[in-house]
């Protein structure tokens, strides 16, 4: 909902509810003499205190607790948690377990990206307020997205015990592993979804994108595969890489008065962007060959610096996740052991994986008693929050030249391009654009 109000040369644009993002917040943009004097992404959802919940809980409880942070990307929280805990405990999962975890993570990327591309972001490009409205005219598109999402959910359910908040991940591996026949039963649907994803790359690449290229600092996990469930280093574009355990030396979380979510910056104060664009720009040569081919045919220029094009990037990652999932299923034999044993010990360790929305870092301090003493969880939306504010400042000059509704839509579309999960970091976004001293 939006309104427009002009008093004494001051022009205020207001949107009471930003739709199709996860969570609640408000954005305020104040412009005076064509200069942005204030840009705030106001997240007012109550803090959820998960890091405090984890204190004095047993190591074994962590994967199930952190899965509750998000219904869309619970696997990401579980994966980063077990990576950190295993690093601290000196446990290295077998290659078979790592492959199975990567397969599970592919399932989450598939369901999350399909949801965002078709049900949350596509309506922006096709001129609809919601997926329901879009479905009337574009039934095939919505059905395609739902089919892909279902294929991803089925994979998570098979490996994780249930599609939402899976329960099979544990320190050292899985509580149980599936029979090959159970995974093979998913193969046809995943193969069909792969073809749909390839078509989606072509479709998204043909959309019209606002002109908004930005000089981002990109941050993502570094790995010799396209980064997903594994990686011991983090790469910052323009400055190189550092070990995951040094993350908190390079990134700083700060509290800002207008947000209940912490904001991240690099230590030099620089905002940064994590997520699909950061991954693709750094690791496009590590995409599955099928995804590389789809990317090449799309005509998307690399590196991608326009966040509106993230819908194409997500489509490419959909191809990657589906193609790799099929390869992993074809190569799968049920491991002899579902998990590796470990003994508790005092340690502090970090772990990071690539959630659908970007880098997700966990750090735990554990005691010899096997209890968590301290936990730090840095979700991708927290890391991107300051960059979103910076982007809205950057796009302000374009807004001033647009009609109110068009300007509002451009902002909403930009924010949605980040696929922000405010509920992870913290529910609605309200947008105020106030143009002080604007000509009436």
């Amino acid at each position: 909902m939006s309104d427009e109000h002009t008093v004494s040369g001051e022009k205020t644009y207001k949107v009471d509810l930003l739709t199709r993002v996860e969570g609640e917040g408000r954005f305020h943009l104040k412009v005076k003499d064509n200069q942005v004097i204030e840009s705030k992404l106001n997240i007012f959802e109550a803090p959820r205190y998960f890091e405090a919940f984890l204190r004095d809980r047993a190591i074994e409880e962590v994967p199930d607790i952190v899965a509750r942070i998000c219904g869309i990307c619970p696997v990401a929280y579980q994966m980063s948690a077990v990576r950190a805990l295993e690093n601290g405990l000196g446990v290295t999962p077998s290659s078979a377990i790592r492959a199975l975890r990567r397969l599970l993570y592919c399932g989450e990327w598939i369901e999350s990206h399909a949801l965002h591309v078709f049900l949350l972001h596509a309506p922006d490009f096709l001129g609809y307020d919601s997926a329901m409205a879009m479905a009337v005219d574009h039934k095939d598109l919505v059905e395609r997205g739902l089919k892909m999402k279902k294929a991803g959910n089925a994979l998570i359910e098979c490996l994780g015990g249930r599609a939402i908040h899976p329960i099979s991940i544990r320190v050292g591996g899985f509580t149980t592993t599936p029979r090959a026949s159970a995974l093979n039963a998913l193969r046809d649907d995943l193969a069909n979804a792969l073809q749909d994803a390839i078509d989606t790359v072509t479709w998204t690449a043909a959309l019209t994108f606002p002109d908004f290229n930005q000089a981002y600092t990109f941050v993502c996990l570094d790995h010799d595969q396209y980064p997903l469930e594994w990686g011991d280093a983090i790469h910052v574009s323009g400055s190189g890489r550092f070990p995951v355990e040094e993350f908190f030396d390079h990134s700083q979380e700060t509290h800002v008065a207008h947000s209940t979510a912490l904001q991240s910056h690099l230590r030099d104060g620089q905002t940064y962007l994590c997520g699909p664009m950061a991954r693709l720009n750094r690791h496009h040569e590590r995409l599955h060959p099928t995804a590389r081919t789809a990317l090449a045919k799309s005509g998307l220029s690399l590196p991608v610096h326009n966040p509106y094009q993230s819908i194409v990037v997500r489509a490419v990652e959909l191809v990657h996740a589906l193609a790799e999932a099929l390869d992993l299923i074809d190569a799968y034999t049920q491991p002899e052991a579902a998990f590796s044993d470990y003994s508790p010990r005092a340690a502090t360790a970090c772990g990071a994986t690539e959630a659908p929305r970007g880098l997700l870092v966990h750090r735990y301090q554990m005691g010899e008693d096997g209890l968590i003493k301290h936990a730090d969880i840095v979700p991708p939306t927290s890391q991107n929050q300051a960059q979103i504010e910076a982007d809205l400042v950057s796009i302000a000059p374009q807004l001033m030249a647009l009609a109110h509704n068009d300007a509002t839509h451009l902002c909403e579309q930009l924010i949605r391009a980040y696929d922000p999960c405010i509920s992870c970091a913290t529910h609605f976004l309200k947008l105020n654009i106030e143009n002080v001293n604007a000509p009436s």
Binding site: G23, M132, K139, F428
Partner: protein
């Protein structure tokens, strides 16, 4: 007849439909088959079959006094319950999902939606006094409906 219980048992009154469904399984012999679907978002579409009648249990907000029980045919649900304009995945409740199914031209199953008005939705598994007081009545309503539909 398929019964689907929706809600989050860790969000205060949002767990009331789940609690009622659990009570149904304890009270009936044989217990009815119930799908505890949590907050499935668009995943609810996958649980609906146009050829199989369904009863949807959920907690509603904003339609009346806390504890008020609402029974609607599914065909009337999309007309009678206010839909949030937010269609994030978290915002895909039964109303939005049934609207989406209609927009896609899918056949909606016959059946009913039975909701109970919640009051507080804070983190935790404690119900408000209103829900604690009316939960037995909600269970009775469900039992009566099931008896009627047999």
């Amino acid at each position: 007849m398929k019964i689907i219980a929706l809600g989050n048992r860790n969000a205060g009154d949002d767990g009331a439909a789940i609690a009622a469904a659990e009570q149904l399984t304890l009270d009936a012999t044989p217990p009815p088959e119930i799908i505890f679907a949590g907050r499935p978002g668009t995943g609810l579409l996958d649980l609906l079959d146009g050829n199989e009648p369904v009863i949807l249990l959920d907690v509603v907000q904003g339609s009346g006094k806390p504890g008020t029980i609402t029974t609607l045919s599914l065909s009337k649900l999309t007309q009678r319950l206010a839909s949030s304009p937010q269609t994030s995945s978290h915002g895909f409740g039964p109303t939005e999902v049934l609207s989406l199914a209609q927009a896609l031209g899918r056949t909606l199953p016959d059946g009913y939606f039975v909701g109970i008005e919640g009051e507080q939705f804070q983190t935790g598994d404690v119900f408000s006094a209103s829900i604690q007081h009316t939960l037995p009545q909600y269970v009775s309503s469900l039992q009566n409906l099931l008896s009627r539909l047999k």
